[in-house]
Amino acid sequence: MPGGEFILRNYVNMPTSNPAPRTLLDKIWDRHAVLAETADAPGTLYIDLHLIHEVTSPQAFTELRQRGLEVRCPERVLATLDHSTPTDKADAHGRHAYATPEAAEQVNTLERNCAEFGIALHGWDSAQRGIVHVIGPELGATQPGMTIVCGDSHTSTHGAFGALAFGIGSTEVGHVLASQCLLQRKPKNFSVQVDGRLQPGVSAKDLALYIIGKIGFNGGTGHAFEFHGSAIEALDMEQRMTLCNMSIEAGARAGLIAPDQTTFDYLQGRAMAPKGDAWNASLAQWRMLKSDPGAAFDRHISINAAEVGVTISYGTHPGMVVGIQSNIPAAADFQEQKALQYMQLHAGQSLLGAKVDVVFIGSCTNSRLADLRAAAEILRGRKVAGHVRMLVVPGSVPIQQAAEAEGLHHVFQQAGAQWREPGCSMCIAMNGDKAETGELVVSTSNRNFEGRQGQGARTVLASPAVAAACAVAGCIADPADYLNDKEQAA
């Protein structure tokens, strides 16, 4: 099995003389600055953990080969298969039904590259395989204070652990493979403070969509978010990952949450987390990873958690959101009119009751055990509406196994949903799992762009509970109706 204990010694005591209060981002940045940024040149930032997958890495390995370069620190690279992989079970001979020969070749290429360059791959035979942003935390490879990159924009997910984690392109994947470093300028600091308590039935996904609606789809460009406040502290790790995952949907490459006991409890005992004395030493350092009082943020937004309701998207980017009981607002401009036209919706209309064709539960945003439980709670003893096709795609093999151990797969299958093999699936719709033109998909994924889930398909972003309620109702529905039913029956 790839991946032993992963320990970063002494990564905290880098520059300590700076007396000015610093943010969490500043601290992590300073600790990883091989060469400081100047007016003329970006800084050279050391990368602790590099996650790779089959789609954005092949060109980088080709570059290495052409230049005769080695991978500098193969032990800092973790690979998995997730984007192009089918979510149907392999046949009796272990063959996978790839959407195209190119998809199969892409997977074979990653297998070859990992073998040649000595990189640990969680491939088809690994009991840890899954979506790259699900398995990093699950293995304990994702740790507080790290710099983490991946050729995937949802790398921001790992910020939930107090790591600086962001997506990069394939050229930069090559840079990190060859040098373990990136040429980077530090993003600006954006404080997102959420105080109070989320109402019962309101999830981290609702909060994420609500925040994107407030900040705007491009509001975080050039910045890294730091989420903090009492409502953030109350979130468990799965919820924190959902929130940080969606940072990029407001334009911010990274979203961080300072690590705390919740973080440490999640990590302790995981395969690649430090053990014994190393654990205690790491804990001592991790506890220092928080923004200093008085640290300067370039921007700040304050949100009262109590005002966040169950939230869904209605347009063609994740900033076009609405409370599930609210009507679609008037289009602000031609761009929003165009989005409504694509979605076959109109201003003033309630989304409740709009016919749903497909429901997708999965993706690096919402494919973890708690997400599956939230969906199963609504589906238990109920049926998916006859005209709805529902896919439930766990984020990793361990999640799949844990869900099956508690019988969730039976709940989904008895309701009429498809219980699939782990992968990105219909979030990015490049493995053959997709919606047809005109179909309305309620999806727990992160992007509702035109055609994202299939050419001409229409996407409504939602939490797992909303998605499950919509599957049962056959139309956009409020999960409260189903949850309250159960409470009354009990």
């Binding site: 970006p42 500098r72 995937d152 997506g167 392109g169 040098s179 762009f449």
Partner: protein, 193 residues
């Protein structure tokens, strides 16, 4: 990468905001292991109808847009995923510069690393260019200026390092690898405890 100093071309205009990377190259075309040959997929689901025929209404399919190497696009161009296939597809399609009032971070990084000039201009200048498709522009990286047919000039800001890399064709991988001693020292320092 070849040095770039001036890009001179007529503009094609895509007046839509938030043109995401799924629009630039749909994900189903990402199952390649190469960088080249992606131009045929650029804006695929806009350029082509579902029956495979050309969508005559799409601005880049108009006769006057043919041969245009400068794209003026609505605000927040390149948002969404980190796929470098987006700039690869645009370059292979013949686009050498994208002008907008805002360009998403990851796309801009990827574009500049491949010699695609992803340039942010002011709201006012952006609005002007959106209204005047087909205008002959000369983007001059040496002076961070855009020359208009009437002799007027717009300016843009570009990170000095990115600009130098483009002007001199600097190999950024080579630049990083030259820092080997500093990287080794950093690694030794942090593992010394």
């Amino acid at each position: 990468m070849n040095p770039i100093s001036v890009v001179r071309s007529r503009t094609a205009v895509l007046p839509f905001e938030n043109i995401d990377t799924d629009r630039i190259i749909p994900a189903r075309f990402l199952t390649t292991t190469e960088r080249k040959g992606l131009g045929r997929f650029a804006f695929h689901d806009w350029r082509f109808n579902q029956d495979g025929g050309l969508n005559a209404d799409f601005p880049l399919n108009k006769p006057q847009a043919q041969g245009c190497e400068i794209l003026v696009a609505g605000r927040n161009f390149g948002c969404g995923s980190s796929r470098e296939h987006a700039p690869w597809a645009l370059l292979d399609f013949g686009i050498r510069a994208v002008l907008s009032s805002e360009i998403a971070d990851i796309f801009r990084n990827n574009a500049l690393k491949n010699g695609l000039l992803a340039l942010v201009i002011s709201d006012e200048e952006h609005a002007f260019l959106l209204k005047h498709p087909g205008m002959e522009l000369a983007i001059d990286l040496r002076h961070c200026s855009i020359e208009l047919p009437d002799g007027g000039r717009f300016s843009f800001h570009m990170d000095g390092f990115a600009r130098t890399c483009l002007l001199q064709g600097v190999d950024q991988m080579g630049y990083l690898l030259k820092q080997r001693d500093a990287i080794e020292a950093f690694e030794q320092n942090r593992s010394a405890a």
